[in-house]
Amino acid sequence: MKFIVSSTYLLKQLQVLGGVINSSNTLPILDNFLFELNQSKLTVSASDLETTMSSTLEVESNSEGSVAIPARLLLDTLKTFPEQPLTFVIEDNNTVEISSNHGKYALAYASGKEFPKAVVLEDPSKTVVLGDVLATAISKTIFAAGNDDLRPVMSGVFFQFSTEGLTFVATDAHKLVKYTREDIKASQVAEFIMPKKPLNLLKGILAGSEEDVTIEYNDSNAKFIFENSTLICRLIDGKYPNYEAVIPKENPNKLVIDRTQFSNSVRRVSIFSNKTTHQIRLKIAGAELNISAEDIDYSNKAEERLTCDYQGDDMQIGFNSRFLTEMLNNLNSDEVQLEMSMPNRAGILTPIDGLDDGEQITMLVMPVMLNS
């Protein structure tokens, strides 16, 4: 088995795949890239058992075979090369010999047969989405997903495909983001929960991509096919909480405000809030929004006043400033609307402008109980 490949071309692909590999693995074989050569087609795979990603490269070769090559070692070596052709020769004594313009390097390899096989999806359903749209959907939602091991369903993003559109939801029970695309439709209804790690990989790869991504899925796995790569991952098993029920329907108090101004004020005031709980207080009366925070332990205190457009009763509501800042920063509209009903009910944050046709974002943030 022998092939010749451009060093930077290979490195670029391997760096993407390297994101799949965990820093410490229980199974030593998972520290390797799987190289499968079939004439001029080289398929490289990386896996952490949950997620497996493969890319196909064009190389110069006329042989076949499969080997597992240590990932760290290979990546570190490739990073140092300027653009040049590299020759890989798989020797019989379990070493790969790489020849560059500068010299020769030998690495031990394992047999490709030891590498765990990726799951084959049986009779999957299929949906096609534009790469950039998927990347946007992920980046708009993933920050709201939780980290609680006790509730694994909330540690992923909920994909809801229907003939009316696609919906992506993430929540950690304190904040929730629902991102809907009504301009893209699936052929049939499907729901599944994607774990965070493969989504973060996809987000990085697909940002700005104008190519189509084919999503295949069944009850336990999902497969994303794009350009020359595929990503297969296991889905999170379980029932996603009924998020629709917690979105308040009637919200008589509506606040419209400049997003950047609001976000900057919240950030500034929150510096003076308690370092662990980050709680701030919003007081709204007339057309004035008063944001205040206090850290009693250190006698720090801040208060800011903003003018806003407000319809509804005067009210006071407490929030964790972290949640507000995260949400405001994730939007890119000029103005946002915050809808509220009661100080112990969710606030609904929506962008006023800056959305594509068919795009919808609803963000929910739960308040903290204020003692009046």
């Binding site: 662990t276 709980t277 850290d295 204020l370 003692n371």
Partner: protein
């Protein structure tokens, strides 16, 4: 300028309070403390002391020594009320003060001697307190907390004493080493075995010798004996945790009773937490079995102050910890890792009805007292409630070892 630290101590505080409430108790021997089998004397009047009674003694023994004494169970809320009356007067009159316990205060009078001198000022403060509250109080005045405290002890009952600057050493010299704060029974034994009985002996010893015998503690004692130790005043006690515990009159394995007690404790602590605008990040539970083996178990939780998070966690911990099938002597609950903040509502677990109910219950408690409304599961537990805001900067009120 030398510091002027005043130490004020209410004489036989609980006894004095009881006498204010019921004047028939004047001049009669009186014991305050637990009345059960395991009761301990929390306070005793001077009349009983000549029979050999002292605080901390088992109530049974105290009764045998002084059968004429009137025994009163005591009520912490009454003492807290009188204590805060005294606190208010002191707060008004002095620049900086420390409330070291319900009946003890330190005040920094440095710089207050501009016109009449700190001693006169302190004497007037003392007579104001006696006049306005009717409680006997003693004080000691000197250059640091330790000497002042010893001076108060010497002045008692109902008297005052000033130790002038430079006379600290000679004042302490003739006293027993037991009078130095931090010399307890153990240290006293060690020192007596070395042939040390009076403070003057410690004063003459080299510091190194004390350190070699008692370590760091020896250094502190030596400094104190020489009137040199000068700890700063603590004007505000920051509560790091909230806890409550109960020793049963008789060891028990009545699970219903145990669980009711723990439930009531958890409910009470969670209320205290909320009224102080705090959240807790750690829950622990303590069990002492009849063989005095004590076990604790704790768990970290996301910051919360909600009943429906804290109480089930406490019950779960108790179920996990109680495994010895042995009679239980004591149970306790503690909330720690406290931060300022309010409960972050969970969108799936918390319903609006529940939150409103909690709010309403807290409002009722704030107005009519903590025990005015309770969950049914906590009913039947003997009073667990605390009586004042635990976050007011005062040290926790202890009915000094009511149980042993």
């Amino acid at each position: 300028m030398k510091q002027q630290i005043l130490h004020l101590d209410l004489d036989t505080f609980f006894v004095s309070c009881e006498r204010l409430i019921d004047s028939r108790l004047q001049k009669r021997p009186l014991l305050v403390g637990g009345t059960g089998d395991r009761g301990v004397v929390a306070a005793c009047s001077y009349e009983t002391r000549r029979f050999g009674v002292h605080s901390g003694m088992a109530m049974k023994l105290a009764r045998r020594l002084c059968p004429e004494a009137v025994v009163i169970r005591g009520n912490a809320s009454v003492y807290t009320k009188y204590s805060s009356q005294v606190t208010d007067i002191i707060k008004e009159k002095v620049p900086v003060f420390e409330k070291a316990s319900v009946d003890e205060f330190y005040a920094d009078l440095t710089g207050m001697d501009k016109f009449f001198g700190t001693y006169k000022y302190a004497s007037e403060l003392r007579s104001t307190i006696i006049r306005e509250t009717g409680l006997p109080i003693s004080f000691g005045l000197s250059a640091n907390k330790i000497v002042s405290k010893v001076a108060t002890g010497e002045a008692k009952p109902n008297n005052q004493l000033r130790i002038d600057e430079g006379f600290e050493k000679s004042f302490l010299a003739p006293l027993s080493i037991k009078k130095i704060p931090s010399v307890g029974d153990k240290t006293y034994q060690i020192l007596r075995n070395l042939g040390i009985d009076k403070v003057s002996v410690v004063q003459q010893m080299p510091l190194e010798m004390m350190i070699s015998v008692l370590g760091q503690n020896g250094k502190t004692i030596w400094m104190r004996a020489n009137g040199l130790d000068n700890p700063p005043l603590i004007p505000f006690y920051d509560r790091k945790s909230l806890s409550t515990e109960r020793t049963f009159g008789k060891d028990t394995i009545d699970m219903l009773r145990l669980k009711t007690t723990i439930f009531a404790m958890a409910e009470s602590l969670a209320y205290s937490l909320r009224s102080g605008d705090r959240l807790a990040g750690c829950i622990s539970i303590k069990i002492r079995y009849s063989d005095f083996n004590t076990y604790t178990k704790q768990v970290k939780i996301p910051y919360t102050s909600a009943d429906h998070v804290i109480i089930p966690k406490v019950m779960e911990l108790f179920d996990k910890l109680y495994e010895r099938r042995l009679l239980i002597r004591l149970v306790g609950v503690k909330l720690s890792d406290l931060v300022t903040g309010n409960y972050q509502i969970n969108m799936f677990d918390d319903t609006e009805e529940m939150l409103s109910l909690y709010n309403a219950m807290d409002t009722i408690r704030n107005r009519y007292g903590e025990l005015s409304i309770q969950k049914a599961a906590a009913m039947g537990a003997k009073t667990i409630g605390r009586f004042s805001n635990p976050f007011n900067g005062e040290p926790p009120i202890l009915l000094a070892h009511r149980n042993q």
